[in-house]
Symmetry: C2
């Protein structure tokens, strides 16, 4: 298939049909009506608006979202605003026939699924730039900027780009993904013109990459200095102090670059299709894990919490355990987290080996220091040696424990592993093991976990899977 064919067929995947539009519009209409109605009874509300991809007409098929914003007077204190949006949002979602779910990003909002469409009821302050109070205050200006600047037809270019990113696993600003936000993809299309031009540019990116649509900065040196450490800097057209790409992880950025290169070299619909739905056999998992070494923490979640909170805890804990394993003397090849976001979670690590050598080299002080004699006396009774090599004293020290699972368990018990408080008790009473057998057993009933395991074992980003 040539490039044009692929893009033509990809558009069919990402572009909503008239039926999709009608359904979304109907939900939006009802949501806005209810929002207007209920908020008129509430003190401090200055208006109601539709924001996000629905307002900008850049949403992609099967990912329709209605972001209903309730604008508040800046005089309302933050606590009051939060209380009011929780109350108002819950009533609106219930009014639409949905089940309200309280969500937290930097701020609380209320979510519900109506007719297959995610409806978010979000609060913002009615302020002029750059007098931002909350993180959502910029959103209406983002919507306005994109609507005003996107040329006729570029909406589909945005859709193609979002579809490509989603298919490659780099789309979404949530903590779980740390990828590209919808607004960021829109700015990329504005910067380069079309889906294909974005990919061609990205395939040639060398960090730091700078995109300053409104030319707020005169020199790139100034900009790089200001956003030091950011490989991708996309200046927010409505806020010169903000990098829209700040939350994109280095890994997601790199995956996007690699995917762009590979797509341009050999275009394929594969890049838009995301995870395949093929049947996963347990024997595949067993075969793939042969001769490899793992250690995992599998545990029950004690309370439901917003995904961004839970994923933040999981990612931080994953890092903490990784550091602990390395401190203990293991090499961590890779790590990953999984959760069904409700009941169970898993931190999984692939390590070089599951046992350390019984004896480790223990480096003592140089013989010239006073404590060399103390070292000798202490270790004469406890270790093998001591001997002198170069100007230092050494001994071989026996480890009382050599298995990765027991060593890690002990470190956790001692409080030496940086595991997030929010899941620490769960982890402690969970399962800590090396043998994937237990997980595979659990995976029998749990298709999602099974999928995670096979993907972890295959160790490839989605666009490289066969």
């Amino acid at each position: 298939m040539n490039l044009e064919d692929v893009i033509r067929r990809a558009l069919k995947i990402v572009k909503p049909t008239d039926k999709d539009r009608k359904r979304l519009n109907s939900v939006i209409e009802r949501a806005l009506d209810l929002a207007e109605k209920y908020s008129s009874e509430i003190d401090g509300v200055t208006g109601v608006s539709l924001e996000g991809s629905a307002a900008k007409n850049t949403w992609i098929k099967d990912r329709a979202e209605a972001d209903i914003f309730i604008h508040f007077d800046p005089k309302i204190p933050k606590g009051d605003l939060e209380e009011r949006i929780i109350d108002l949002g819950s009533r609106i979602i219930r009014g639409l026939g949905g089940v309200p779910r309280l969500m937290y990003a930097d701020h609380p909002y209320v979510e519900g699924v109506i007719d297959g469409i995610t409806v978010d009821i979000v609060a913002c302050y009615d302020v002029e730039p750059p007098n931002w109070i909350g993180a959502t205050d910029r959103t209406p200006y983002h919507t306005k900027y994109v609507i005003e600047n996107l040329r006729e037809g570029q909406e589909d270019e945005v859709r193609l780009l979002k579809g490509f990113m989603a298919g490659c696993g780099v789309y979404g600003a949530e903590i779980k993904v740390k990828g590209f936000s919808g607004y960021l993809t829109e700015l990329l299309v504005l910067a380069y013109g079309s889906f294909l031009e974005v990919l061609r540019a990205v395939a040639n990116w060398h960090p730091p990459i700078i995109i300053d649509l409104e030319r707020y900065y005169e020199s790139s040196e100034e900009l790089i200095e200001l956003f030091r450490g950011n490989p991708l800097i996309v200046i927010d057209p409505i806020d010169r102090a903000r990098n829209v790409a700040a939350a994109v992880s280095n890994t997601r950025l790199s995956e996007f670059v690699l995917a762009s290169k590979l797509f341009l070299k050999k275009p394929s619909l594969r890049f838009f299709k995301g995870k395949e739905e093929r049947k996963i056999r347990l024997s595949d998992i067993r075969k793939l894990s042969k001769n490899r070494n793992f250690v995992y923490l599998f545990f029950r979640l004690r309370e439901e919490k917003p995904p961004d909170v839970l994923w933040g805890e999981l990612r931080r804990s994953e890092e903490g355990v990784k550091r602990a394993l390395e401190r203990l003397g293991f090499r961590v090849y890779r790590s990953g987290s999984w959760t069904d976001e409700r009941r169970h979670a898993l931190l999984l690590f692939e390590v070089d080996q599951v046992t350390l050598p019984r004896y480790m080299l223990h480096k003592g002080p140089p013989v010239y220091l006073r404590n060399a004699e103390e070292f000798v006396e202490l270790w004469m009774r406890r270790g093998i040696g001591p001997w002198v090599d170069g100007d230092r004293v050494y001994v071989l020290r026996a480890r009382d424990e050599t298995r990765v699972s027991r060593l890690l368990k002990r470190e956790i018990k001692r409080g030496e592993v940086a595991i997030s408080r929010g899941i620490l008790d769960s982890v402690k009473s969970g399962k800590l093991g090396e043998n994937l057998g237990h997980l595979i057993e659990f995976g029998k009933k749990h298709e999602e976990l099974r999928r995670f395991l096979i993907e972890f074992l295959e160790a490839r980003p989605v666009f490289l899977r066969k």
Copy 2:
């Protein structure tokens, strides 16, 4: 036992008896007579002299040596001198009733054992300082300097120091030891006054240590700059450009410092006694090697050669194998060489483990480079992955071989291990193993090897052995 008692009793160990003296003097007399007689027939000989510890009266009991020097006219070419000393030396040793053995240091000399005393017939050029032609030309001046400067009674202080160093395993400038030469110990006594004062100074040494008896240098900065990298700098009183301690290894120096500290803290005859002669049981070797990992090269020597040559080859090869093992991914805790100097030799390494993990992390290029795509394509078929982490691509690569002995064997076969030419063929057709069982079997008949093994396993310098 207090310090005085220990020193009094140590002196009995190191000081020759009248009988010892008579025996040495008789051998010297006969050797000098023969040397005079034979050399008078040879063109270019300007004189004959006794040098070394016998001449200086600083030799220690059971280590008597007669160094007979034949002085040659500087006009004689080096090749001729070597030819003549080999011929002359052999005749003298035979004339004394001994079996001449050709030795090489930087130069050939002839050795024989007469009445239990080692007799060396050495050539030197009859030159004035600093017009040195060969390495032995300084020796007569060293002898003269020590005789002129050593005060009455200091000979015994030198003997105590030599005995202490010998007992602690740091005495001897030969390649096998890389320790302190006799001349160096004499200079130390001249510098500090007595055995005990030497030890007190040494216990407080902090490198670089500078001893410049003749005050040739005005500033220590100049001296340190000139002999950079040397932890111990002892300027030769008869040659300001030479560091008498240049050949002392860092390890031997450090052992001497540590032994001095420990002796002063708790004086004991142990420090003078050297290797104990207790019976070594095979079960001790088996017990001590439990839970530890080794790899060794055991081989037959194809030809006899001077010990310094053989030990040089062994040490360099030991280093070469160590580097190869580390390159392969093993940690080498310790290494050692053994040889009976005639038929067999051993290179022994203690390693962290005997197998590597089946999979190793293989780091690819950053995604931003052109070869990232090539890396992906290449490794898609061969490894596990590839995946992206940070800005790079990685895969897990399977090792086709994981055992240390097989990996090392292959590296040697490929010529990738820096083993000295002089023993390479022997090594290749020797035994390369991990299990000390084979060595222990051989050690049954070979007391010396058994001793080496137990000492290697105990991993302590001689002064720390119980």
